[in-house]
Symmetry: C2
Subunit: 443 residues, 2 copies
């Protein structure tokens, strides 16, 4: 066999994912190098603090604290940005792409916030920016949408994109625990990110939804323009009542395109979803994405959404594509024509107004247990043309009651108005809480 | 924008899938050509009978009955073999590959039976043979195993690979119908292949299992060397009892590798699988595949396994990869080094003996309703070290009874010996029927 080309890789960051990439390249090195027809060499690792002891012994790889050793090093073929964050990571990614380098990343926040600039830089300089690991960990959702389903236009993409919140919801459901109790456990297990808002307020999953929206529709959506609601308001009784009605409570990302009106809805929020849907059965730390294309129909992918090994599997898949590219393959992500593709894909496409969202809703209203309360509330709702599909009343020990209702089809604006009126109502205690009921057939 | 290269495609066969490819290229032509950076032209269609009226109006495409117009035509860049069968299709595929052409196929029977020769030919001549559409229709299982999960070795791949049998089992379960009744409906809907053994005796799914075994492990397995059992023996009461015990009855393909012993088990048979498994929830005509890699963990893909649109989505995905290749990409399927890869992957790998299969079993035994029958049967089983986990007895109107039992862990050889002894037993009517209970955690 002829001598294989050596592909030199530099890692920026050597935390959980970086160490996973190193470990798993070593683990299956010979099969991997055979398949790629090239040798892989991790040439340099840049860390914040060189003195910190690492979890793996990496042999003769050179460490340093100077990112220039990777980013500006002409010997490095592939830069893996695995440091996270949007500060230093932005500066270094930009610098690598400016020099026409291939960058592989798992950094969803960076792409979500600066993807438009970074992909434009890559196009301009002929660099390449790979990001399979940024969405849904080990699930090959980027490759599937980009390559496998190339024949399709995507009416609906939805799913579970954050493992931590899914773990919390699963335990709340199975063990009847409260959100607070489960959160304590999730923290102990190291499942919750240092910045807890990323997991609990839906921001992490929203980052991923923004990336998928761009990939499928060529449009960059800003986080502040979309519905992004986390799981903090969900109680055990919401999950229980949902279960009795045949639903699971899940934190869902939804990317729905109406091709006729040329509107795109991107959103991230908890939702009740029928137990009959496969995505409803995706529990624990697993992620799941349902993709409906106009040709293929619905395809669903389920797998580990996070963790060292799953994420590094996707990073290595991107490294493999990069190796093929270094051996002469055209870039499947950003071709010369790509800007035009995306312009055409997104031509005239507008973000749908949140208020236009239609569907059924679940509401939890805490009320004084007075005569005529239900009639009064029903009256308020009906003024907004909202009618109840199911009503569930639970007496509390303090003489108050909780009303859990589901509605027939309504819309976002009506529900918000009704909630505002209810808030002012004397018999209502605190703010009513509402969750959407998600029906893929009507999304 | 510069003039794009025209990629000329020839179709062999213009039945359901061929017409789907034509229709769906037309449907999303502009987005597709943008993404590929090339123009797609279906240059020639070879049919068996030119006079036959076609379901689609294909404009100025040239029809003929002479395959040479595609296979031996130097202007044709990509040959799509969508005629099926293993006769003429073999001859034409071989001829195209001999000339170094790119061939895209949906023909699982051909690959299963002649893949070893055809891939060898492709390697020798520098041709390329793409086959995403041959396994699980619109599900990108080939690309996922080959590219997305390139970092992995595959301990277990299992799933539902035949939509027709899954449709029949789903209806039997939901409506309590018999196999015969459901089959009548499936035939009416056109779901059953002309050669019914393909769907009902598991041969179609076994073809696909053989292809996945090669892809994941580099070893060609012969159909006659593996367990291949269809769904004809399944009764409504088997499904009912399975359901009561928390299982679904599914026709499963299993490709399990024991890396330590270097043994490969490839099999296709009905099995009881826990309702908690995602694959158990894959119903109707859907297919689902669960892939466990040593790095990524378990990833599950679900989608339409057959039908014009789903299958043509995969054919078009292969055409897209072929277009990239024609523009200079190295072949991700068969590189120069590929033979070595597969030699290494399969190095010393042996097919596991069927008799070595271990697991739990379900048995249905028709008995005369005499005193002591259960004790007698229990005795026969215990001589083979088989013990019962559950026993269910159902009295029939004619005074006989059916015993439905599940066993604790046993093995194939013991179960077969016990069945042989039971068959000779005076109190047993007809042949006992057994189904395996599949537990992915122990596969």
């Amino acid at each position: 066999m002829s001598e294989k080309r050596i592909i030199r890789i530099g890692l920026l960051g050597f935390g959980v994912v970086g160490q996973g990439v190193w470990k798993n390249i070593e683990r299956n090195r010979s099969a991997l190098e055979y398949r790629l027809g090239a040798q892989l060499k991790i040439e340099h690792i840049v860390v914040r603090d060189q003195s910190k002891v690492r979890g793996v012994a990496v042999g003769d790889i050179v460490y340093s604290e100077d990112p220039a050793c990777v980013v500006d090093n002409p010997d490095i073929d592939i830069v893996c940005e695995l440091m996270g964050g949007t500060g230093k990571a932005l500066e270094l990614t930009r610098r690598a792409l400016e020099q026409g380098k291939i960058v592989v990343t798992a950094n969803k926040a960076l792409i979500c916030e600066h993807g438009e600039e970074l992909f434009a830089t890559a196009r301009r300089t002929g660099a390449h920016y790979f990001y399979e690991a940024s969405v849904a960990g080990g699930i090959p959702i980027i490759k599937t949408i980009r390559e496998a389903l190339v024949a399709n236009r995507f009416k609906l993409i939805f799913g579970i994109l954050n493992g931590t919140s899914n773990y919390i919801l699963t335990r709340m459901e199975r063990e009847g625990l409260s959100f607070a109790e489960t959160l304590v456990d999730a923290r102990k297990l190291g499942y919750v990110e240092a910045d807890e808002a990323l997991d609990l307020d839906g921001i992490d999953a929203a980052h991923k939804a923004v990336i998928l929206a761009y990939l499928a529709h060529g449009k960059w959506v800003r986080l502040q323009d979309i519905i992004c609601e986390g799981i903090r308001d969900i109680t055990g009784e919401d999950i229980e009542i949902a279960g009795q009605l045949g639903f699971k409570m899940k934190l869902l990302a939804v990317i729905a395109r109406d091709f006729e009106a040329n509107k795109l809805s991107v959103r991230l929020h908890p939702a009740l979803i029928s137990k009959k849907e496969v995505i409803a059965g995706v529990d624990e730390v697993y992620n799941g994405v349902s993709v409906t294309g106009d040709v293929v129909g619905t395809t669903i992918l389920i797998g580990r959404g996070a963790g060292q090994d799953a994420t590094s599997s996707s990073v290595i898949s991107d490294i493999a594509d990069a190796v093929f590219m270094l051996q002469g393959a055209p870039n499947p992500v950003i071709s010369e024509e790509d800007e035009a593709v995306y312009k055409e894909l997104a031509d005239g496409l507008e973000l749908a107004h949140k208020e236009m969202l239609r569907g059924r809703y679940y509401l939890r209203i805490h009320v004084k247990d007075q005569q005529g309360v239900l009639a009064r509330i029903s009256d308020i709702m009906s003024k907004e043309h909202i009618s109840f599909a199911t009503v569930n009343q639970k007496e509390l020990e303090d003489g108050t009651a909780k009303l859990m209702v589901t509605t027939h089809e309504s819309d976002e604006a009506s529900i918000e108005r009704a909630k505002a009126v209810l808030l002012l109502e004397d018999s209502v205690i605190g703010a009513p809480v509402s969750f959407r009921i998600f029906d893929p057939a009507k999304a």
